[in-house]
């Protein structure tokens, strides 16, 4: 008979008390992140100061003044409005489009798999570079899209340079870059759904719209929620695409939070206002992510419970 192990003998030299193990394992990651917390608090302090790099002598705590000023600052309300619109529009459109494409590609055929890999290409393109690409394509002189638009009668379609179409244009780029992200999430979701309910429904001759709304959608909810969370939080912080396309213009059409804060810091060197804007943005994302994650954890628990 094989040896009976004794309490003293261990299989490997690695031995950490069970009580401390989780802390030991997570500590390095925590330390790395805590290093990043310090500048975060510094930023909070800045946001309570009148602080312009170009007027160092005037730097002082003004407490909530930066925030209070926002109340009657139309530029701020415009920023808030445009950020929310941008996030809302992109997420809704990308979700609808992503779901549609995922449904098209649901079957595991060779073509579908190939197409789904191809569709990932935009996601591989850095948003800053994607914006550059679209800028080239929408150039009114040699841009292919402008040319195509002129062929269908839109002679003076001005893309990102007109306030009427600037939002549309950056949203288009955002859709181009990020719809594949949602598509791939939902595709995996669809493909991992159990087949029985669908077979049963097909046998019973249940109408397909009913199947879609009563079976597919509910079962896909955790995936949709995850996709929405990731996209919403990224989208409300959009910077690369908008900054590269229009730098927030034309006019104040696209001065979303990060663009406004960036310009505030780098051009106006108004550190206080820039920090206050960021803190507000952070608060919005924190609240949103909290709501989403709580809901989603609950959903997941339920899914596990059923399984």
């Amino acid at each position: 008979m094989a040896s009976v192990t004794t309490p003293q003998k261990t299989a490997s030299g690695f031995k950490i008390s069970r009580r401390w193990l989780p802390y030991v394992l997570s500590l390095p990651a925590l330390l790395v992140c805590i290093g990043i917390l310090v500048p975060f608090f510094t930023a909070v302090v800045y946001s309570f100061q009148r602080y312009r790099l170009s007027q160092p002598w005037a730097r002082q705590f003004n407490w909530g003044e930066n925030y209070l000023n926002f109340l009657y600052d139309p530029a701020f309300w415009n920023t808030l409005k445009i950020s929310l619109i941008y996030a809302g529009v992109t997420v809704v459109l990308e979700l609808a489009l992503g779901l549609g494409i995922a449904l098209l590609l649901q079957k595991r055929t060779r073509i579908n798999n190939f197409v789904s890999i191809m569709l990932l290409m935009p996601l591989m393109t850095a948003p800053a570079l994607a914006a550059l690409m679209w800028k080239l394509m929408t150039n009114p002189g040699f841009g292919i899209l402008s040319y195509l638009a002129s062929l269908v009668g839109l002679q003076n379609f001005r893309w990102a340079s007109s306030p009427d179409t600037a939002l549309l244009t950056v949203v288009l780029v955002d859709i181009w870059v990020y719809t594949p992200f949602i598509m791939i999430l939902l595709l995996a979701g669809l493909r991992s759904l159990p087949t029985q309910p669908f077979e049963a429904a097909a046998l019973d001759g249940v109408p397909r719209s009913f199947v879609f709304f009563r079976i597919t959608l509910p079962m896909l909810t955790p995936y949709i929620l995850t996709a929405t969370l990731f996209r919403l939080l990224d989208s409300i912080q959009q910077f690369d695409i908008i900054y590269a396309m229009t730098q927030g213009g034309p006019g104040n059409t696209l001065t979303v939070f990060q663009v406004e804060a960036y310009l505030n810091f780098f051009q106006s060197t108004n550190v206080g206002r820039s920090a206050a804007l960021m803190i507000i943005l952070w608060a919005i994302t924190y609240i949103l992510s909290n709501i989403f994650i709580k809901n989603w954890l609950r959903l997941r628990e339920r899914a596990r419970g059923e399984a």
Partner: protein
């Protein structure tokens, strides 16, 4: 083989107490069955012994040695899981070999060890398969083989037959005692199936709500259940439970069913007038034509393999199950009469649920104490 001793184990999850001051001793080489419905705390207890869950209070001693601060890998335990818990990325061979690869065993000695236990469990032909290519039965055997491979002095089996089909369960129920005997290990076996418990256990510990309600040999558990709950858990079909109030007569204590007196020999006088529950195993009820028996109406008849179970209704619409060996005659419908063996009946206190001991038992137990 090693003895196992649990002393005053307490485990709480948040406010819920899972194990409540539980103590238990398993002798060297003994096969103890932990029996109870799900949620009774069996699995938690087993994992605690294995060392993957820590008790909040109390001590676990294996071979007399306190297991506090002894990690799972050092406890010298073999364990089979209800869900098999096979390593999905390893072949059956590697699964079984896993307890043997600790330390510096040679490849050939590992192969010997695996081969031996695989032959014992008749899975030597599927050793190269990965778990997903195994049938449920093969998985179960692989899991058992893995638990046995290291020849652990203490074997923990967590309801290993739960997830296999009836036929296989039946086979294994016959085969396991032999296997376990061959191992010569101390065994703690968890199950929810009373037949398994009866077939495999030297002793059975019945658990409910984090405590051990009764511990004893299978015969004791069946023939002298500590309370209604245990009586109901053991036996198929389940025991008939009828509300009664014992009375005292010239021939001693009796209860009435449909105005027929059923004597309960040896019952203490103290039960008279107390609301009680009469426990009648279906085998203790027989169809009879003797006058003065209880008139009933046959509601339904269910032939099982080796017996026939009949549901009858008394005049007061009380349901009673009657069991008779298959092939023996009995009414299939209509009116009939039944007789009850009062000496095989249990009497339970309705308020506490505890079985009321007969005078004889009381005396022996009293002496023992």
């Amino acid at each position: 083989m090693k003895s196992l001793e649990l002393k005053n184990i307490v485990k709480r999850y948040k406010t819920h107490t899972v194990l409540d001051n539980l103590s238990l001793t398993v002798a060297e080489g003994e096969r103890l069955v932990l029996f109870g419905s799900s949620g009774a705390g069996k699995t938690v207890l087993l994992r605690m012994i294995a060392g993957v869950i820590e008790p909040d209070e109390g001590a676990i001693l294996i071979g007399g040695q306190d297991m506090r601060d002894v990690e799972a890998e050092d406890r010298g335990i073999g364990m089979a899981f209800q869900n098999f818990a096979l390593f999905p990325h390893m072949s059956a061979y590697d699964n079984i070999a896993s307890p043997l690869t600790v330390g510096k065993s040679s490849t050939s000695s590992i192969a010997d060890g695996v081969g031996k236990v695989a032959r014992l469990l008749k899975i030597d032909h599927v050793l190269s398969h990965h778990p997903k290519a195994l049938s449920n039965g093969q998985k179960q055997r692989t899991a058992l083989a893995r638990a046995l491979a290291g020849s652990p002095p203490l074997l923990l089996l967590d309801d290993p037959l739960r997830n296999v089909d009836a036929k296989l369960r039946f086979e294994m129920r016959l085969e396991l005692p032999r296997l376990l005997a061959a191992q010569g290990a101390t065994v703690v076996y968890v199950t929810q199936d009373y037949k398994e418990a009866m077939a495999l256990g030297d002793r059975i510990a019945v658990m409910a709500n984090g405590t051990i309600r009764q511990i004893g040999t299978p015969e004791v558990i069946y023939n002298a259940p500590a309370d209604i709950e245990i009586a109901r858990l053991f036996g198929d079909p389940t025991i008939n439970l009828l509300d009664v109030t014992p009375k005292s007569g010239p021939d001693g204590i009796y209860v009435e069913l449909s105005d027929v007196q059923i004597p309960l020999p040896g019952m203490p006088v103290s039960v008279v007038g107390k609301p009680c529950v009469l426990g009648l195993r279906p085998e203790a009820v027989t169809f009879t034509t003797v006058p003065g028996s209880i008139p009933v109406t046959v509601e339904a008849e269910t032939p099982l393999n080796e017996k026939t179970v009949t549901l009858v209704l008394t005049a007061r619409k009380r349901e009673i199950l009657v069991s008779r060996p298959a092939g023996t005659p009995g009414p299939a419908s209509g009116a009939a009469t039944i007789a009850v063996d009062g000496s095989a009946a249990f009497l339970f206190d309705k308020t506490t649920g505890a079985r009321i001991e007969s005078m004889a038992e009381y005396r022996t137990n009293g002496e023992a104490a």
